[in-house]
Amino acid sequence: MSAAAPSAQLTAYAPRVRARRSISVGFMVIALLAITVSILMLGALIVEIAVDGAARLFTDGGAVSVEARDGSIVSDLPTPEGMGWLRWVLPIAILLPFVGPRLVHSIMADVPRITERVMGLAVVAPVAVFLHILYVRFESAYFIEYAKAVDIDGATGNIFPLFGEASGFQIVRLVIMGIGLPLALLLMGWFWSHRMRKPSLLIPAILIGAWIVYLFMDPWFLSSYPSRSPSGAGIFSAVTGTFYMMTITAAIAFPLGVGAAVYLEEYARRNWFSRMIQVNISNLAGVPSIIYGLLGLQVFVRVLEFERSVLAGACTMALLVMPIIIVSAQEALRTVPPSMREAAYAVGATRWQVVRHHVLPYAFGGMLTGNILAMSRAIGETAPLIAIGALTFIAFLADSPTDDFTVMPIQIYNWVARPQAGFHEIAASAIIVLMVILLLMNAAAIIMRQRTRTDW
């Protein structure tokens, strides 16, 4: 290779470097403009909310309650027809900004990195904010019109009282709509232009997926109780029952399971007894769930007299998922290298201090992941709950752990078993909801595993 060659290359490259820089300046100007616009729009949104009152954000596509002039609440108005077009248009409009940065990138192949990032944000941010404003304006305007149309004398803008029925659900929706969506769009644009780290893309993708599902679906379905007619039936009690039971299940199974795993991995001597326990845990993981149901029926429902309550269901489920939690927690503990334990012992730590300060914290992410996966198994279980006699028609929310309850799989099972085609349809809807919840949980597990991984 001659000495002239490198310098020739350098001169060949020089103009391109300059050209790239000028593109970059152009992009920066556009990007700054776009960001300024989006900040202004965001400001406008905030002002609008402040002026019009937060109540507008609580407007709902289906469950309409309207406050009449005399102060009484007129609720459960029928869902109007023909106004749902925006629900179809919006998801398509949302997809555009994600294609945008990619398009820009493919056209300008050598965009410098910083510009690329800024562009991603600049394209996505204003669109996200604009869509959001559009949606909020649409809904609030629509409902004021609607309230007039159904002839409620003196209807006010306060269509959904903040502390009325099912307001918890409304708040969740507010979070998804008001914060989650713009945030998701922003994040997605950022990550997308950020060399596409796949796991990071999950969070915004999930939020947007949830939002799209929500748009396609009659929100009334989520916020209604079971009914005799398919058009009026919803899964509110099933969803809340599921979350209620899962919370208690996790509260029981996680500490016990982790405790058992810590004992087996860190304390127990390797002898026939610990081996026997280990083999039995593996066996228990393979026992059919209906057997756990029968056990729960006898022990929790009858002997301990929990009745057919959330608590009995949660205890049964806790037994069911315990082996999974123990095994996954053991796996997590084994990933902590022995050298960490030795290091801690070598400075005079007791066994408990080693576990408390080192082994548990380092393994905790893995344990949580295992716990979530165990929960996502429990959430789909039907048989043990049917065995202990969970109900299928619950037109109220459980107030305490000793109340009757139902869960989503049971509700689905019940609807599928009915002869009317309408129930089969809402069963399909409920299955989609259950699937979304499951996907969310599994995605959370994957993200958590990625985040808490330590390279030793």
Partner: protein, 315 residues
């Protein structure tokens, strides 16, 4: 007292041709094993367990930090170390050298009861530490490990901040003084302070290998031990980092007793005051062959096998 313990065993004048001095317990000396031939043939050397190890005179009158008497280690039914008797002089660096699998690390891990953590491991004999037998089950292993620290072969900082790495030992041992000063002091002594003083919040894992090892040394120092055991502390490091660790060991020897296991003959020669040479026969049971001041072991070994090993002809 200390001098009585290792009475000089040698009875004949040392010479380079003498395989080993005859002892009173054996009427006739066994034929000297021919190391070169044995090594060339690829067969292990048979060590006669009835033979005593060779011990040199100590060149100084010195207090002992530890005294090992007939220490044997078993892993289940396998015997790893057989009846090693060895003094560890105080505030000196003692090197344990020998080929792989001769039980150096095993022996080292006995000194702060780390072998307790291995299921099936069993230690016999007497390790005197302040007139108590360390091996005695009534002795609190946690207290032993606090007073006899350890640095491992592979740097193993906790996945926490540099500060927390150093402070951990002191914290769990109920240290109530000024933690910031303790951390700074430990890091200074480990010759790491100047490199990390501005980023004490950084993860210990973010440091380079040599820095990590010095962090581990700082962590060991922070609990104010009397003895520091080092298990091939520089074997995973590059020559520059190795040199730093060796300098550090020389400095630390002013305040601490250091026992270091090393494969590296030059390293043993550079850093240690005393050297013990261990060797395992074909039955893979480690035995002490020779112990004495490093200077003498390296220039005037009494045992043919020691000479073969340190001149690189064997092992």
């Amino acid at each position: 007292m200390a001098r009585n313990f290792f009475t000089v065993m040698r009875s004949s004048a040392p010479s380079s041709t003498a395989a080993r001095p005859s002892t009173s317990s054996t009427a006739t000396a066994p034929p000297p094993p021919n190391m070169k031939e044995a090594a060339a043939a690829g067969v292990g050397v048979h060590l006669d367990p009835s033979l005593e190890a060779v011990r040199h005179d100590l060149t100084e009158d010195i207090e002992m930090a530890l005294e090992l008497r007939d220490v044997s280690v078993f892993y289940g039914t396998f015997q790893a170390v057989d009846k090693i008797s060895l003094p560890i002089p105080k505030n000196r660096v003692t090197a344990l050298i020998g080929p792989s699998g001769c039980g150096k690390s095993t022996l080292l891990r006995c000194l702060n009861r780390m072998n307790d953590l291995i299921p099936g491991a069993r230690v016999e004999g007497d390790i005197r530490f302040e007139n108590r037998n360390l091996i005695d089950p009534t002795v609190d292993a946690v207290e032993v490990r606090r007073r006899i620290g350890m640095v491992f072969q592979k740097p193993n900082p906790f996945p926490k901040s540099i500060y927390e790495n150093v402070a951990f030992g002191a914290r769990i041992n109920g240290y109530s003084g000024d933690m910031d000063r303790l951390v700074e002091d430990a890091l200074r002594r480990a010759a790491l302070w100047d490199e990390v003083k501005d980023e004490l919040d950084k993860s210990g894992l973010a440091l380079s290998g040599g820095q990590q090892q010095r962090l581990c040394i700082a962590r060991a120092i922070a609990v104010q031990p009397e003895i520091i055991l080092m298990d091939e502390p520089a074997s995973a490091l590059d020559p520059v980092a190795t040199l730093k660790i060796e300098d550090l060991m020389r400095e630390l020897a002013e305040h601490y007793t250091i026992v270091v296991v090393t494969h590296n003959m030059q390293q043993a020669g550079r850093v240690s005051d005393y050297t013990a040479f261990l060797l395992a026969g074909e039955e893979r049971v480690g035995r002490l062959v020779e112990f004495g001041p490093t200077q003498e072991i390296f220039t005037n070994p009494l045992d043919q096998r020691t000479e073969d090993y340190i001149t690189g002809r064997y092992g």
